[in-house]
Amino acid sequence: MSRLRRNLRILHVLAAMDFKLKYSGSALGYVWSVIKPLSLFTMLYIVFAKLFKLGEISAYYPLALLTGIVLYTFFADATTLAMSSIVSRETLVRKMSFPRLIIPTSTTLAAAITFCVNIVVVGVFVAWNQIPPRLNWILIVPLLLQFYVFTLGVSLILATLFVRFRDIGQIWELATQLILYATPVIYPIGFLPPWGRTIAFLSPITQVLQDIRAIVLYPDLASNRITATDAFGSSAGRLIPIGITLAIFALGLVLFKRQEPWFAERV
């Protein structure tokens, strides 16, 4: 019990340090964590809402886009930083004995702090659009929890592989860009043919994003609120991306635990 408490303290202090260091020495500091997704949002908004006229389909397009960008940015940032976390904390790994799991977990938690700041911005947009809150918005909490578990699972796989193969860095940089377009962040899910939706909903990112959109943007068009239940044609279909989340997390945990004893001599 006291060992668990000690490990939780280490986790807390490392995550706080990660967050602090990310912006240390920069003039605007934490403000950057809001500027980055907002500028990506502004650019994509001009291109897709105005030039490609996606904004004319639904008044809620900007909000749907921002929600997608904030979720995606968290996933991309957390996994990218966690991937190199074991290697970049080399001295710690080589000089101290403690559960290595703390390292990638603290990195993803630091990204989660940034994510929470961004959530506030989304909240401001929701208020701006004058969408009255509903009781079922509470479901966002378990959905975000699922999203974190998925992100952590992917992070553990990447961090383990990165110790052996540095190519994973290049591969993942490409993959995160592809994931942005493979996920209905920019385009409405309804644009995909039914078979395309089925594939898209295998990804927990699509499932969580669409669930949140369906809950928060309930006045939006029905075709923008398609969820896993609709895409798989049954409410049991929802279990598919949730099952994938748990499988990825379990795989990450097993892989990490198996390689953990060798990290100190291989980093």
Partner: protein, 249 residues
């Protein structure tokens, strides 16, 4: 009879050192038929010893003799290929001072991070913060970033945190090399105090004088093998003989 604080039996450790470390897929792709060749290095070969509770135990030997590997196995950082390690008592989780120090943060933040890593709770840190800074004599620099510290100042800070940690068995690898005379003497004073408190200390060092003065027993490692184990004077004498026996290149 009390069980030994540290009991090591038949520890062996071999490292596989690839001649050219291949960490990218391209390298595998460009040379698909050339196997990566390995050189195996036996870092430790069937080493056994035990350390009694309250003992000051010195480990000496030339560079590359396996001292640090042995300490890392004791700390649980490396896993031995064979043999067993049994620890009885609360083990310090670090083998070097100042692990986790971040040069971009000031001393105040680093005391918190390093202290937490070493196992201090928030409350203990609050209580002992002033003691830590007072012992290190760095009051004037407490809000400076560590990158502006000299190596001696870093050591002062690191050592001051480490001695505030509650442990029964302390493992230390080559700690006092860069401290100045007055700080070294301060450290020796804490060695004496730790011994009076009945703590077990395992120290890896090249400073034979420290071993001779403080250690109850010493161990000499050479090429991963245990060459001598016994009173510091005897072990150091064996070490000197072995150096003299090697003809100068």
């Amino acid at each position: 009879m009390t069980p030994p604080a540290v009991e090591v039996s038949g520890i062996s450790k071999t490292f596989r050192l690839p001649h050219e470390q291949r960490t990218t897929i391209k390298e595998h792709f460009l040379h698909p038929f050339s196997r990566t060749t390995y050189e195996t290095q036996r870092a430790l070969d069937d080493v056994s010893f035990s350390v009694e509770p309250g003992e000051f135990f010195g480990i000496i030997g030339p560079n590359g003799s396996g001292k640090s590997t042995l300490l890392k196995i004791l700390a649980g950082i490396y896993r031995a290929d064979s043999g067993t390690v049994q620890i009885d008592g609360l083990l310090s989780p670090f083998i070097e001072l100042g692990v986790g120090f971040n040069m971009e943060l000031n001393a105040r933040d680093n005391v918190r991070v390093n202290g937490t890593l070493l196992g201090l709770s928030r409350q203990e840190l609050d209580e002992r913060f002033d003691d830590i800074i007072a012992f290190s004599e760095l009051e004037r620099f407490v809000d400076q970033k560590l990158k502006n510290y000299s190596s001696g100042m870093l050591l002062r800070l690191a050592y001051s945190i480490a001695i505030q940690v509650d442990f029964e068995i302390l493992l230390l690898d080559e700690v006092l090399a860069v401290g100045d005379q007055s700080f070294q003497e301060k450290c020796f004073a804490t060695f004496t105090r730790l011994r009076e408190e009945g703590k077990t200390i395992v120290l890896v060092t090249h400073q034979l004088g420290v071993v001779e003065e403080f250690a109850d027993r010493a161990l000499l490692l050479q090429n991963g093998e245990l060459r001598a184990l016994g009173s510091p004077a005897e072990v150091i004498a064996t070490y000197h003989e072995s150096i003299a026996a090697v003809p100068a290149p």
